[in-house]
């Protein structure tokens, strides 16, 4: 059973002094999935990653990667992982090639043809010194070093920061290839659109607490819709807020936007009784909106 779990945490807790950065985190990431770890800045994403990498030690609880304890077997674990830290920094005086060689040597070698293909796909320049690269180009070197040893578990903290849209797309393809290879991707992010595109499941963390873990497909099937209503007069939003299934009402003069997961008939009845409805558009909410809804609910 444990072989099927890539990352497992049990009651993982980390306090910095009195500040609880991570509270009783229970999480199981399956082998072969892309797991999106979502949360706003300072939610505890990086603390969680640094804890399972044994950079810092939990105040209580434990974690394992591929069935190995993250503290006592940390060196063995690192044979199986690739890591992109958040706010990536590398050795400014080394070229990209030198940097990759350094880490390859620490791992006992790497397939350079594969490195070459990764560099080509990401359009990375490995001949320049890392310190002379723009942050996006530096990020590419960081991504290559994480992918190059074909790790069983890829752990990445905000990995697409600084990448242009074309490279981001290639990077997403690379993540999907890893997953279809039966390997695992753990992707922390605060941009939902990215996670929406690649992840199988998402975990949402806030104030150090895991609020929810759901499949991306399940989240979508929650059938939250965004409804835009246009009227010929100014509308009182408060009247709409109390209707069943209505959330997040925004009124802008004649225009009302709301999230809705109730019965459309009820909504239309109420609206048309009171006002003269000119137009209505509706579309499936993206994760961003669902996510915001979660936050409203789990609000601090």
């Amino acid at each position: 059973m444990t072989e099927q779990i890539a990352i497992h945490t049990e009651g993982l807790t980390k306090h910095y002094g009195n500040f609880p950065a991570l509270v009783d985190l229970n999480l199981a990431v399956q082998v072969g999935e892309i797991f999106g770890f979502l949360g706003p800045n300072g939610a505890g994403k990086t603390t969680m990653i640094r804890t399972i990498l044994d950079e810092i030690r939990p105040t209580s609880g434990r974690a394992s990667i591929l069935g190995m304890d993250t503290h006592s077997q940390s060196v063995e674990i690192r044979d199986h992982i690739g890591y992109v830290p958040g706010d990536l920094a590398m050795y400014p005086n080394l070229t990209g090639k030198d940097t990759l060689t350094y880490f390859a040597n620490l791992r006992g070698g790497v397939d350079w043809d594969f490195v070459g293909s990764l560099a080509e796909r990401l359009d990375a320049d490995l001949t320049k010194k890392v310190g002379d690269l723009s942050s996006g180009n530096r990020q590419k070197v960081g991504l290559i070093q994480a992918f190059m040893n074909k790790p069983d578990v890829l752990i990445m903290d905000e990995p697409s920061s600084g990448l242009d849209p074309l490279v981001q797309r290639e990077f997403q393809t690379m993540m999907r290839e890893v997953a279809s290879d039966g390997r695992t991707v753990f992707l922390s992010s605060h941009t939902l659109s990215e996670v929406q595109r690649v992840a199988d499941r998402v975990g949402v963390i806030r104030h150090g607490q895991l609020i929810a873990v759901e499949g991306v497909a399940d989240l979508r099937s929650k059938a939250i819709r965004t409804v835009n209503l246009f009227f010929d007069e100014t509308v009182d939003g408060a009247a709409l807020e109390n209707l069943p299934g209505v959330r997040e009402v925004k009124v802008d003069n004649h225009h009302v936007t709301l999230s809705f997961d109730g019965q459309m008939e009820t909504l239309l009845k109420v609206v048309t009784q009171r006002y003269s409805l000119l137009d209505i558009t509706t579309h499936e909410a993206n994760l961003e909106e669902i996510f915001l809804t979660y936050y409203e609910d789990a609000g601090a």
Partner: protein
């Protein structure tokens, strides 16, 4: 208008200044306490030439000794070092950090920024000077020492002016080049060379007047602690400060600001040429990154090269011929030298080449040289990678934390060995040039003990770095401990009852056996080696058990 930049820089820096000067005040306290308790006849009976060398007047009393031999030299060196580190960081430092562009994004001219940095150098040097002045007044009072006739105010003011001078020199070089390391390196070079020139040149009759070419002369040449303000000398420094300020303004306005870029070294250029590409690529590229220890040993090359060069040429090769030039009278005075006094300078008999080398090179400069290299690497090895946020990436690879510590230690040993080889070659060469006939085996022994004392404090820095992850704690801690233990080893033997305590200082195991004359003392070597190993083991254990710091 400038207040914001001034305030920020002041708040960033004042702690360093306070720690440095308060530490110095403590050394002063300790020194004066010891002077108070010993028979000063050992000093007053000294021959004039020697007294001049170590800055002791003929009618020396406790006050003159403490201010002349401790406060004026170490105090000025400390204050000037603090000022020049501020100077080199002022413009070039902001460029290196990539914050200069951000700063200039505000409606302030480059000259404004420069001016605010300059104000800071003056303000913080003044803060340091006030602390030193306060200590200079209060310490003798606490110790009940009569210091009538000592011009503390004048001495400290001279210190302040010379510190600002070196601070502005570093600032001007940084403003012209945008290179922090060049600014601090060149300024330290000028400072150290002029410090030694002012100490040594007067010993050689024909070179006596040459001292006027060195800025340090206008600080200490007039003995301000005895003779008060010398406005002639001070005005030379003040005019120099003005010229440097003007040069800095011109320099910072005329050139392109540097982005947050890396240096292009000679090696990088060679790597670009087709002829040299392959071999250099192998050395600077694949070899350098083959192992953690190789990569670490290849870092801080600038410091290593300067230290090895200084130890080889100036402290090694040149001391030999210099010995033969030195005033005959000095050499003839062997018998009148009290042993206790010379022990303070690492011991040594001025009439023999070994003794001369011991006083000039091995007593103070050798430990400093080794420690510059070992403490730098020890402090940066772990805490530096944490501060640069690369430690997490490094430890994501399948290597143990203990392996990282041990490989960094190996790099430290390699760099110390390079300095040792340069020093050994320099002293052997100096002995040959001056036909002094010193025993190479004994030189090797002294060099080995010097290497070990350097490694002990390097390992202390490593252990502090492992325990805290803070480079500053590691550097200040190791240097502070070294300073205290060095002074303790120099002074405690004078004090009856406390003389046994000197054995607790690692420096006791460095020169007390006179290795240049007697060869290797394996027992002493073993003590130092044991200390080194113990500290490295502590570093391994401390690093293994703590959370990595997340900075940035």
């Amino acid at each position: 208008m400038l207040a914001t930049v001034v305030t920020k820089t002041f708040l960033d820096r004042w702690k360093g200044v306070a720690i440095g000067t308060v530490a110095l005040a403590l050394v002063f306290f300790l020194g004066m306490a010891v002077y108070r308790d010993i028979d000063l006849a050992v000093y007053t009976d000294l021959p004039e030439a020697l007294r001049a060398l170590i800055n002791i007047p003929a009618d020396a009393d406790v006050g003159a000794l403490a201010y002349g031999a401790i406060y004026s030299s170490y105090g000025a060196l400390t204050l000037a070092s603090l000022a020049l580190s501020m100077g080199s960081a002022s413009i070039a430092g902001e460029e290196r950090k990539g914050t200069m562009g951000l700063l200039l994004g505000n409606p302030k001219s480059r000259t404004h920024i420069l001016a605010s940095k300059a104000v800071n150098i003056v303000l913080l040097s003044a803060l340091g000077a006030v602390i030193l002045w306060f200590a200079g007044i209060v310490v003798p009072d606490i110790l009940n020492v009569d210091v009538t006739g000592i011009e503390v105010g004048a001495l400290v003011f001279h210190m302040f002016v010379v510190a600002v001078f070196y601070g502005f020199l570093a600032m001007a070089i940084g403003a012209w080049t945008g290179k922090t390391s060049l600014a601090s390196g060149a300024t330290v070079g000028v400072m150290v060379i002029s410090f030694f020139a002012v100490g040594l040149l007067p010993l050689v009759d024909s070179l006596k007047s040459g001292v006027k070419a060195f800025p340090w002369y206008y600080y200490s040449g007039s003995d301000p602690h005895l003779n008060g303000f010398d406005w002639g000398h001070l005005s030379v420094l003040i005019v120099g400060i003005g010229l440097l300020a003007a040069a800095a303004v011109v320099g910072v306005n005329r050139r392109d600001l540097r982005g947050q870029t890396t240096r292009v070294s000679l090696v990088d250029r060679l790597r670009g040429y087709p002829m040299t590409e392959r071999i250099v690529d192998r050395l600077a590229g694949s070899t350098r990154v083959s192992r953690v220890w190789v990569k670490t040993a290849s870092e801080n090359q600038g410091i290593l090269i300067v230290v090895a060069y200084v130890m080889f040429l100036m402290m090694g090769l040149l001391i030999g011929p210099m010995y033969t030039f030195i005033d005959e009278t000095l050499v003839k005075l062997t018998d009148s030298f009290p042993e206790e006094l010379l022990a303070m300078f690492g011991g040594g008999d001025m009439s023999t080449p070994e003794g001369f080398y011991q006083i000039e090179t091995f007593g103070l400069m050798v430990p400093i040289a080794f420690m510059v290299v070992t403490v730098t690497i020890g402090a940066r090895a772990l805490a530096g990678e944490e501060a640069n946020r690369t430690m997490g990436l490094l430890l994501a690879n399948p290597i143990k934390r203990s392996t990282v510590v041990l490989q960094k230690t190996l790099a430290m040993i390699i760099q110390a060995a390079i300095v040792a080889v340069a020093l050994f070659a320099g002293v052997v060469g100096g002995s040959m040039l001056g036909r002094l006939g010193m025993n190479p085996l004994n030189i090797a022994a002294a060099t080995l003990l010097g290497t070990l004392i350097g490694l002990v404090f390097g390992a202390l820095a490593l252990a502090l770095s492992a325990a805290t992850g803070r480079t500053r704690v590691a550097i200040y801690g190791a240097v502070g401990a070294a300073l205290g233990l060095y002074v303790a080893n120099g002074f405690l033997p004078f004090s009856e009852g406390l003389d046994g305590l000197a054995k607790l200082s690692p420096f006791h195991y460095y020169l007390s056996s006179d290795p240049l004359l007697n060869g290797m003392n394996w027992g002493h070597g073993a003590v130092l080696l044991g200390l080194f190993i113990g500290l490295v083991v502590a570093a391994v254990m401390l690093f293994d058990r703590r959370d990595l710091r997340q900075t940035g």
